[in-house]
Subunit: 143 residues, 4 copies
């Protein structure tokens, strides 16, 4: 993992309109381990009277972090084949941290594991996703 590749990935966090919509931050990429942070926003609540994250925010974060874990090893973006998320406990207000790593980096398929923790470090969700590593790069050179 070179510094320049980290920089390239960090850049992409910023240039993705969806990442900007949710204000996602890339914290660290090191040795195949990717750490991301999602700062809390009131817009992420599942209901007006709720203090809990909407599950859709968590699944999006898991998909993205897993993709970065594979991409950081391959040096290019890969499309998601499928995504699986297990919600372990309600995620309450506060920043979320996702840590992802590649479980497999094959010729045709990559698999990533992701752990999602709340601001107190409690595990709120785990995810696993498969990515297509044999696909042609996207025409727009984007994730």
């Amino acid at each position: 993992m070179t510094q320049s590749r980290h920089a390239a990935l960090k850049l992409t966090v910023r240039v993705s309109p969806f990442h900007r919509l949710i204000r996602l931050e890339l914290v660290r990429v090191k040795g195949g381990r990717v750490e991301m942070r999602l700062p809390w926003r009131e817009e992420f609540r599942r209901a007006d009277r709720s203090d809990w994250y909407h599950g859709g925010v968590l699944s999006a974060l898991i998909d993205i972090a897993g993709d970065y874990a594979i991409a950081s090893r391959l040096g290019r973006w890969v499309p998601t084949i499928d995504l699986r998320v297990d919600y372990l406990r309600p995620a309450k207000r506060g920043d979320l941290t996702a840590v992802a790593r590649a479980v497999k980096l094959g010729r045709t398929v990559g698999v990533a594991d992701v752990e999602l923790r709340d601001a107190k470090g409690a595990l709120v969700a785990v995810g696993r996703a498969a990515y297509s590593t044999s696909s042609r790069p996207t025409p727009d050179g984007a994730p």
Copy 2:
């Protein structure tokens, strides 16, 4: 499915801050079939130079539609146990339509199937999710 229950669910689409963030619309609830629409927005693109939806938008939409399919049958909100999404082809700019229905409505677990189509009617993703039907209602009475 009474009209009043539909109204109650429609109301909740509006009162969820996350649903408002992505501007989700509930189109129809009939006989256990739930149809939702997500109008296209530039913020949903996966990259500035891309015309494709970010996968995180699709997985969130699938989770929500499945939840509504179970909730419309039970008359109350249920927490998601786990979510699985298969991305079948890139979803390009244009409105998305999700159609969800319950496959199982058990004493402890409900399972929903969701189909996601692009503006031309092409199937872009399928999802399946398990929901906890024996959980106590959320303290805030919200999804």
Copy 3:
């Protein structure tokens, strides 16, 4: 779907030692729809005092039927990327029937949906699996 391809697939049901161990039968392959039958055996019970199938039998049957659905369309065997099974209700003694069809047949990935029914026609489990369609054929020419 030609008759000869059906014959080839039927042959393979017989030449797989694991298929013979569980005595799996291929019933029909038509238009991409694959139907398999697993005749009941006392060895499939989850416990000596139980009348229910062991879940491991159901998941194996779903994996196989899905693989055949993709293989029947491609004319060659494909390795499974991942498998997901939802158990909807206990499967009691009696023959099981699996019906599988391809949801996607891509250049790199195929996805199959499988429904598993008991002898009375009740849906006991549903499955979905992804298969690698770009993999080189197995050296032994076998599933």
Copy 4:
């Protein structure tokens, strides 16, 4: 984890007809970690000319090991809600070892993670499954 509970679980490995059919062995239960072994048999091959395990054997082993991980913590058997298996590389002839642990032990749902290794210690598959912890015990007191 008391010795008596381990003994009870070991007993059940023997009394399940399906476990006897595949000759599954319980190696160790300690601190919520369950280790199982499946001795190689020619009947597990995916084809007569193949040296590889049939995927159905792997998924069954993962489901069982995960169930034992939850059961060893709860002291009773729990039905599987859903099972997900990622096949990472072909599993060749030789004994398989499954190691499972609970990721979540909730009031209504338990989640287990399972790693499956071949005789050389290589990771051949990973699995995750959800189990219903609020279900009434099965009438036959069996897994």
